[in-house]
């Protein structure tokens, strides 16, 4: 039951990465071609193109409802509109947003693929901790996917480091300095948690813990293949239970740090769970898709329709769970209508109507209707098609987390965004499928393997 990454797939992944890299580089060059010197002409040309309606509308709103706007927005009012080197406020914001975009696009793509791997790691640990009998035939697929946790996480951190205040306004110079023009009282109050050193130390601790679990569980899983007792399995059970405790705390903190802090004034106590639901459903979807792919290659013949059925049930169920959390967060904030909270959704509904509501349709309505019927959960191509919709939906979800705070209304899914998807998608495929080839696809030593092979719903 050996699998080796095929040359076609490897070439495909490399081509994706190269094309993606071109897109990303283009994104950076394109955004940096706009400078203080020519921002006025660029904006003038833009307004001309968009027509007057847009021009008049966007002028007034920009300050009030942008996450950046608020923080960048100058603690004390400037006397003249021409503040920085002859730029108006509007021009200055636009310039920031244009420069933020390639970083944000890169970050969204990197985080999306990282979160898939992390979601699968949690799913895998749950299978062990629950001593699930149905899933051991899928363990090697899951282990393959989780090989992306460490590289993916390091990339996210590296981008965060490189992007600095392009993504995280609380990293701006002087934000915590009383009297500085960037001084922000709210951010200063949070600086005990939100500071650069803390951010990266925490990031490395999170990643370190997750990677350690992944390293040892993989090691024990391989060792169990040739063992004649269940010692390795028992060890795996124990570290999985411990990992889940560690994970549920660190995942939540990671969500505050890596995502929620792009809007440093805004907070939601539900956010960690909500991010978890997103990564969980994306991860399960990718397990199903890769399993079906490998099956179509004639591998994984021990995986039967019932396993696919169960994965599809999870896709269905966790999609609804995601909606539940999303809505719980939304409804309370919408209902209470407190300005500092509701600004988060005002920005999104005002400037992100399509991705915001489109994501709801893709992450809720589609899986709800497509996967409701029991029989459809067994039709492989149906699961793949629904999976694609779910993944696109959750990409948009990540997009809606990051973009409104960084580029406000200057969003578009263009070269930088698609480039980042291709770049990290290619890397993800390359790493995952290489890892899949490193061990037999059947974790044959697992004590539940017989039960799993005969799993029948």
């Amino acid at each position: 039951m050996e699998y080796k990454i095929s040359n076609r797939l490897r070439m495909g992944a490399i081509i994706m990465m190269v094309l993606g890299l071109i897109g990303v580089v283009y994104g950076f060059m394109d955004s940096h071609s706009v400078t203080e010197a020519n921002i006025s002409e660029v904006l003038a040309a833009e307004h001309h193109g968009h027509g007057d309606a847009h021009a008049t509308e966007s002028h007034g709103n920009e300050h009030a409802d942008s996450g950046h706007g608020e923080v960048v927005a100058h603690g004390e009012e400037h006397n003249s509109d021409k503040a920085h080197g002859g730029l108006t406020h509007h021009e200055e914001h636009a310039l920031h947003q244009i420069h933020n975009r390639p970083y944000a696009a890169l970050y969204v793509g990197a985080f999306f693929f990282f979160m898939i791997a992390l979601g699968v790691l949690a799913f895998y640990a749950i299978q062990y901790a629950a001593q699930a009998g149905w899933s051991p035939v899928l363990f090697r697929v899951m282990e393959g996917i989780t090989s992306y946790v460490l590289p993916g996480g390091l990339i996210v951190l590296a981008i965060a480091f490189a992007a600095d205040s392009h993504l995280f306004v609380w990293l701006k110079e002087g934000v915590t300095e009383v009297g500085h023009e960037n001084y922000d009282k709210l951010v200063a109050g949070k600086s005990g948690w939100l500071n650069k050193t803390g951010f990266f130390i925490r990031g490395l601790i999170f990643l370190g813990g997750w990677s350690l679990y992944r390293y040892f569980s993989r090691k024990f899983s391989i060792a169990q293949d040739s063992a004649d007792d269940n010692k390795n399995f028992k060890k795996n059970f124990r570290i999985s239970a411990a990992f889940l405790v560690f994970y549920i705390y660190t995942e939540s903190m990671m969500a505050w740090d890596w995502i929620m802090s792009v809007d440093p004034h805004w907070f939601s106590t539900l956010f960690g769970w909500y991010v978890f639901a997103s990564m969980f459903v994306s991860g399960i979807t990718v397990i199903a898709m890769i399993t079906i792919y490998l099956k179509s290659k004639g591998l994984l013949e021990f995986v039967n329709d019932s396993h696919i059925h169960d994965l599809a049930k999870f896709m269905f169920g966790i999609s609804i769970f995601w909606t539940y959390l999303w809505f719980s967060q939304f409804m309370l904030i919408w209902y209470s209508n407190i300005p500092e909270e509701v600004t988060y959704f005002v920005t999104r509904i005002e400037h992100y109507k399509l991705p915001f509501f489109g994501m709801l349709a893709m992450n809720f309505i589609f899986p709800l209707l497509l996967l409701m019927n029991s029989d459809y959960k067994r039709i492989n191509w149906f699961v793949i098609m629904t999976g694609i919709v779910i993944l696109c939906g959750h990409y948009l979800d990540v997009f809606n987390w990051i973009m409104p705070a960084t580029v406000v209304d200057r969003w578009f899914i263009g070269m930088p965004e698609i480039g980042a998807i291709l770049l990290f998608g290619g890397l993800f495929l390359f790493i995952v499928f290489t890892a899949l080839g490193k061990a037999p696809l059947l974790a044959k030593g697992n004590p539940f393997m017989k039960e799993s092979e005969h799993f029948h719903y």
């Binding site: 809505f327 939304f330 409804m331 209902y335 209470s336 209508n337 409701m372 019927n373």
Partner: protein, 179 residues
């Protein structure tokens, strides 16, 4: 109508019953009914019963529940006595929709669940004060009973059922009026 004859074969184990059902089906005999003390997984497939349409009715009932919730909340909160919800006096159902989602959800579930159960009872011909159809009270405890119609082949059926591990085989006149 003349009373028809049926064979009652009694088993004491669900696995034995399952294999017996498969053997009887393989011999092309028609199984009228099986009485079991608990649901036996896969029995419906082995008996060749058509898949249940209960799930479809549940979906339709859910849609009814959703509609009822929308119409009800629209009448109560928007039309009949307009409410200012969350300091947003828009008086539009759509704009206040998030506040109604929990109700929409609950009524969808409520309708789907209750009406599905009622449908199931009716479809199973169970209603209050009805005399039990179950021919042998032991099937409510620890015995399984398979009922097969007899068409002048008593001997053949009896020996087949004996082979399958039935602990008791009775031939009874089925009184159609009993239920």
């Amino acid at each position: 109508m003349e009373a028809s004859k049926v064979i009652h074969a009694i088993y004491t184990d669900d696995d034995v019953l399952m294999s017996a059902v498969k053997k009887v089906k393989a011999q092309k005999h028609h199984i009228e009914e099986i009485y079991t003390p608990f649901p036996v997984h896969g029995l419906d497939k082995a008996m060749g019963l058509a898949p249940t349409r209960l799930a479809i009715t549940a979906f339709l009932y859910g849609c009814v529940g959703l509609t009822v919730a929308v119409l009800m909340m629209n009448f109560i909160m928007i039309k009949d006595w307009p409410q200012d919800i969350g300091g947003k006096p828009s008086f539009s159902y759509l704009e206040n929709m998030p506040a109604f989602v929990p109700i929409m959800f609950e009524l969808t579930v409520f309708f789907a669940a209750h009406l599905m159960v009622i449908t199931f009872y009716l479809r199973s011909r169970m209603w209050p004060f009805k005399k039990a159809e179950n021919p042998d009270p032991r099937t409510t405890d620890d015995h399984f009973l398979m009922e097969i119609a007899v068409h002048n082949n008593e001997g053949e059926l009896t020996s087949l059922l004996q082979e399958t591990g039935a602990v008791e085989i009775n031939i009874v006149d089925k009184d159609e009026d009993a239920h």
